[in-house]
Amino acid sequence: MGSLTTLNLAFLIIFPVIAAGILLVIRNERVRGGFVVVMGALIILASITFGVRYIGGPGAYLSVDADWLSYLALAIDMICCLYVLLKGIQHKRVWAVVLALLQAVLVICFEVFLAHHVQITHEIYVDAFSAIMVLVIGVIGGGICIYANGYMVDFQKHEDEHNKPDRRPVFFSLMFVFLSAMFVIVLSNDMAWLLTGWEVTTVCSFALIGYTRTDEAIRNSFRQIYMNLAGGIAFSVALIILAAGVNGATPMLELDKLIASGGSVAVMLPVMLLCFAAFTKAAQMPFHTWLLGAMVAPTPTSALLHSSTMVKAGVFLLIKLAPCLGWGFNGVTVALVGGLTFLACSLLAISQSNAKRVLAYSTVANLGLIVACAGVGTAEAVWAAIFLLVFHAAAKSLLFLCVGTAEHHIGSRDIEDMDDLFDRLPRISRLMALGILCMFMAPFGMLISKWATLVSLADTGHLVLIVILAFGSAATFMFWAKWLGKVLAVSQSAHPVEKGVHRTEWFALGLMAVLALGLSITFPLVSQVSVVPYLESTFGWHLGSTISFDNLAIMAVIALFLFAIFIFQFIRPRKKPDIGIYMAGIGTDTEHREYRNSLSGVSQAGQRNWYLSKAFGEKTVTPPAYIVSIVLIAVGLGAAVLIGLGLIQTGGLL
């Protein structure tokens, strides 16, 4: 580890915080705009420099000999708890106060009585997976910060009409703190530091969700904080158990040592508690409602929460812990919770017409798939999980940014209102279509990752999950295809309203589109260069036959072909249609789908998409999914307590 690395690391973590501090005091819109763009660009560049250095490397560990950093981490933990405590008192939320106090007590107990007795060799590590995460967080997160610039100008115009105060300084500074905390999470080997990053992301998203201070925003932000504090408490308890060395385990607080212990019985309980914490963060059922509620926040927040930060912290931890999972109580619990979430949320997305809600359900579903892969725990499954994570980040941020910009220009985020988007917002709608295709269609990355998931499930004999994946994928086709259809419907009378999309928005949209498409085309290369080395070092695995290189190459060629052909198609000059659409012979104005009705008046024909809400509505699907997921988690935790604390001997069962 050279000093260059230390410098690069320090830059990634400290620099966004400094930027956040400065942003708090900039009140001028133009100055802030320029500052955010420069800072965002610097973070993107820094993470690329860092990522490129480590993406194929064997990984490196770094020890930081500074006690004051641990005190700083404790202080930050306390500030987080205090903030939630004060907010809880201000809004009279008893549970927030109770949970924050409990968390504070646990962290103090941990630091005072246990943490100092455990020897920590390496506080920081860098391997190919954390390099990938740094790239995801830095490039996509940085891009979203730049996008937020233009978006928030329009947003504030709307807020001014309602005489709302301009709180954008807080908004931008929270976004940057978020990135810094995420870097801490993916680079810390000392789990106490990881917890600090974890808590900061929880509190940042709490503040971002409540940003508009409407009743709904406050209600949803508290829902988020209840669930994630519960997760944070589980995390703290896990650390206490690990540091105390219960049931004959060696006390340890380093992530690599925990992973190396390979999920032995002694660490079963803390691993399960960490998984529980990850469930809350990754919005797995029954905790998915906080992510649905999070969409009251301005769109850049949603984009950030869904694509590169927050929920990705949850699945990151699970993917790290994958070697401890696999066929055992913990692994099966995690795999089933993830699988159930994937299935239920894919079905639920069919019944939604609000674009952001569809995106939210789809995020939860895809996170479920990643969680299931982590639970399966083989190298092949982890390969799939990492690619699901990367492609989801790129495609989902593209989609959120498209929906956000479209909302400002058509005044709605309802998919039914996107009927003639193809002509009203020509470029946005094509980018949106690209994002949707990237989410579910061959030859793009998400589908290939799903394919790999399927193969790894078949190889490990997870039959229930195979059935779940088959049905969930079918539901996925349904809700994306009908949305895509609406977006690509060609109108003959609509006028473009695309002017006024800010340059920062175009930049971020372009960046995400290039990432989503570019990654799909260079997939085989990315796999060979980055993910395979990580798996080889973690699992001692040599690339098996999950998906052969030939097939990856076929997909890449098709992606390139599709891209070329669509570009060609969309730059061709538009020809006037030869004829209007078929209106059963009674059309009066086919451009507007008008026809002569039975009273000799004029009616307009319309066709809403199918939402099948009786079959797949929230009232039908959510209650059983709640019951099953709660039972699964309760059984998993119960088993972990009984077996992990040595109350029951399992013999050969594990």
């Binding site: 399927l454 039959l463 195979i466 059935v467 609406k486 419907a489 249609p577 659409i581 789908r593």
Partner: protein, 292 residues
């Protein structure tokens, strides 16, 4: 999938499949007519129809629809070529889904109420049959040990003996894929249905001709899926496969002529129920036989 087999399949499938598919459509119409006590059109009528469509004047409601339909055909061919070249079964399934999606988008692009209705129905049809198709390819892998379709040639017995229930599930959803009544919701050839050709309402002339040809390619590919259940490393397989294909296709025609169209909800419910039962029981028995 070697380069040689790919090239053979590329030419073989691309040229022979539409001939066989058109002929199959002709036989289909003939048999259907006889079932209804009619004489029926000449055997080569489907070819005459397509030729006629090809020479019609070109009228289009927008200049994207034809493009989507053409792409749909291209991907259906690619899927078929990979299948008959002995390539990856799942890859075939995914590329065929892309082809179907493009067909749906062609209908959506018109903003015609009838076409959109057809497109919605087509999407629900995809949702109904897709789980079974995915499970079929995975159980194929579980039984054979490879996703490559040419792996059956090395087997000692046909995979129908490992996957009898999966085969029944496949037959059930093939009725949807062949666009046969009672599941011909989006695109039918029975003039008495309430919406006959919903999804292709706005397609005419060459575009409609391409749709017909795509359907021929697809049908041959589906028969390939049926056939693979009866192939193993013996020359007897040819005989068995031919018999099986004839029986299966006659069964489809028979069902087509004897069942009234059902609503989407019934289709979805039945298709999923059959899929779950067949998949779970068959996979479980496969798994137990491994353990034993």
């Amino acid at each position: 999938m070697s380069v040689a087999s790919f090239i053979i399949s590329l030419f073989g499938f691309t040229i022979l499949a539409p001939l066989a598919g058109g002929l199959l459509a002709g036989i289909d119409r003939k048999v259907t007519a006889r079932l209804q006590s009619r004489v029926g059109p000449p055997l080569l009528q489907p070819f005459y129809d397509v030729a006629k469509l090809w020479h019609k004047e070109r009228w289009t409601v927008n200049n994207y629809q034809g493009f989507y339909v053409l792409m749909s055909l291209v991907f259906a061919i690619i899927a078929g070529v990979i299948f008959f070249a002995g390539g990856n079964f799942l890859l075939v399934v995914f590329i065929l889904t892309l082809s179907t999606l493009l067909f749906v988008l062609a209908a959506y692009s018109t903003r015609s109420p009838f076409a959109e209705m057809g497109a919605e129905r087509e999407i629900v049809q995809v949702m109904s049959y897709e789980p079974m198709v995915i499970i079929m390819s995975v159980t194929y892998y579980l039984a054979v040990g490879s996703f490559n379709t040419n792996a059956v040639l090395t087997l000692g017995r046909p995979i129908i003996t490992y996957l009898p229930l999966v085969f029944i599930g496949l037959l059930f959803i093939l009725t949807i894929k062949f666009r046969k009544s009672p599941f011909d919701l989006s695109y039918s050839h029975h003039a008495h249905q309430e919406l006959v050709k919903g999804i292709s309402t706005e397609m005419s002339g060459r575009t409609l001709a391409l749709v017909e040809v795509t359907h021929w390619y697809e049908n041959i590919l589906f028969l390939g899926w049926v056939g693979i259940f009866f192939v193993w490393g013996s020359w007897l397989a040819v005989l068995l496969t031919v018999v099986a294909l004839v029986v299966v296709y006659f069964l489809e025609i028979f069902i087509d002529n004897n069942f009234a169209r059902v609503k989407w909800s019934a289709m979805l419910k039945w298709a999923w129920l059959v899929t779950i039962v067949c998949a779970v029981v068959n996979m479980a028995s496969l798994n137990w036989s491994w353990l034993g």
